[in-house]
Symmetry: C2
Subunit: 339 residues, 2 copies
Amino acid sequence: MNNNNQSVGVQSIKFSTPPYIQHYASVVGQKEGDGPLGSHFDIVEQDNMFGKNNWEEAESALQAKTVQFLLQKANLTPKDVRYAFAGDLLGQLMATSFGLESYNIPLFGLYGACSTMGEGLSLASMTVGGGYADKVLALASSHFASAEKTFRFPLGYGSQRKFCATYTVTGCGALIVGADSGIAKVTGITTGRIVDYGYKEKDNMGACMAPAAADTIYNNLNDFGVNPNHYDRIITGDLGYVGQTILIDILKTKGYDISGVHMDCGIEMFDKDTQDTNAGGSGCGCSASTLCGYILGQIEKKIWNRVLFVPTGALLSPVSANEGNSVPGIAHGVVIESV
Amino acid sequence: MNNNNQSVGVQSIKFSTPPYIQHYASVVGQKEGDGPLGSHFDIVEQDNMFGKNNWEEAESALQAKTVQFLLQKANLTPKDVRYAFAGDLLGQLMATSFGLESYNIPLFGLYGACSTMGEGLSLASMTVGGGYADKVLALASSHFASAEKTFRFPLGYGSQRKFCATYTVTGCGALIVGADSGIAKVTGITTGRIVDYGYKEKDNMGACMAPAAADTIYNNLNDFGVNPNHYDRIITGDLGYVGQTILIDILKTKGYDISGVHMDCGIEMFDKDTQDTNAGGSGCGCSASTLCGYILGQIEKKIWNRVLFVPTGALLSPVSANEGNSVPGIAHGVVIESV
């Protein structure tokens, strides 16, 4: 038994020897490329079909393209990568199954809704930190059109979107976690629990997820015995404007004011005034591409030295929502520091 | 960095200090209780609705009941369990989201189709073996009716099933992996890759999964440098009669004859002659309940001393299949030994 890796508090791990993020890559769609973070992404694809015949295949092609670019950037072959932790929002992870199959990397398929990049980065870090592997891939993706088809209405309906609704990001972020050295290190994780306030408004996912984000951030701060300003940024995945307000309010009632350091990938992704995205961006690919485009860049340049990255997931199934169930949330926290 | 945990060969881990399976529990439906393994399950529920109003909620209740019984058997509270690794077959893991939310255990949601119990047991073992936790839950479930609704036809259609089709098991298996001592130990894992022979017959999942099972078993034998008879049993999840034949044939062409030690949970679950289940049982819950009902019992009693447990998953999405795509497979191997 290796007891060097300390479990701390009620739901966190502090790595005795932190694993490193060694390489990262992001690919997004045209609308994301036109947004405020546009210049930070590696590739902005102009064809939202990614050269394929349907939206699901387009998302698979997005994943495959991101991994191809990541491996090229890292000068690695698929055989150098011991495991992949990956997922998407579609039923039975179909984007991942077809997106990664050509790489032949042993795969742990994950479903954490839009929290998947936090889940994958946590498990990749635990795998490297536990001495099980030297190079591990973590990846998550979403596509606006495949998500609308799965969760809402066919695009052709031209249905109106509520002001509280978010806009699913077409994007994929992928990174390599490894031992010994890298551009950033993962020093701790706080794994989320399912939090369900009974809220059923599936168009208002920010409200559904905010309590889970609050729970994970609260426990991170408590478990590590730190205050919000310990972090240069506390970065949620896709709460948007509505969820951000709720998150900050909940944490204030619990004794923490994160308003000075909070950032949300969904809010950063689009220009509210010109891009018609209502409450902000969302989807697995929102936090994943922001991490692997913008956030890790800021950490690599040491503009930020320590962030708490907290992708947030709404455990929304079209079937359970139509059956009248609530939309529970989950959020997975990862502490990333500069080197 | 802890290098005591050895990565061996191309895709396996040999645990330097093996984690233990400490407790296990299984709950199944009536048909499974009537089958050859009936007496090995902890609870045979007579109401396939599990007291709920729809099939998805029934599967959630099945999960909740299994965890409740497991914790009771183990004399544990949910707070004693550091992490849960869990999944099911439904879109966005809805059975798991609602099945486990009341337990408040930090959750890593998994999707590996019917291989999920192998994926969860692998990750739970890596988590304990890496010193990150003392008690970790691994769980997988399936329900005949929720699976038919998701992947095939509404039950009311009364559609005929092909002879090559399998019958989804209503069942859930759950176990606790922990440090120090237990009823069995996990000595190694072999993590599967996506294997896709391009086969598109979604009613013949045994054929879709057999190549993946063959790949994982082949690499397990090679990575550990052992022959099939090193194991008392090599146990696949739900290949059924069709998949078993293909698996044995593929491995013969690769130089291994496993026919003397192969067992398939799907074949064991039902009586072919009297239960009208065609090619056998299938689903996440097939291998999970067989593991946590029958297999671990055999190991605890030292009737078997070493088995290779290889749950097999068909990465079938109704959407991708309807779009004309193949059904890729994946299989995750776990070496379980008596103590």
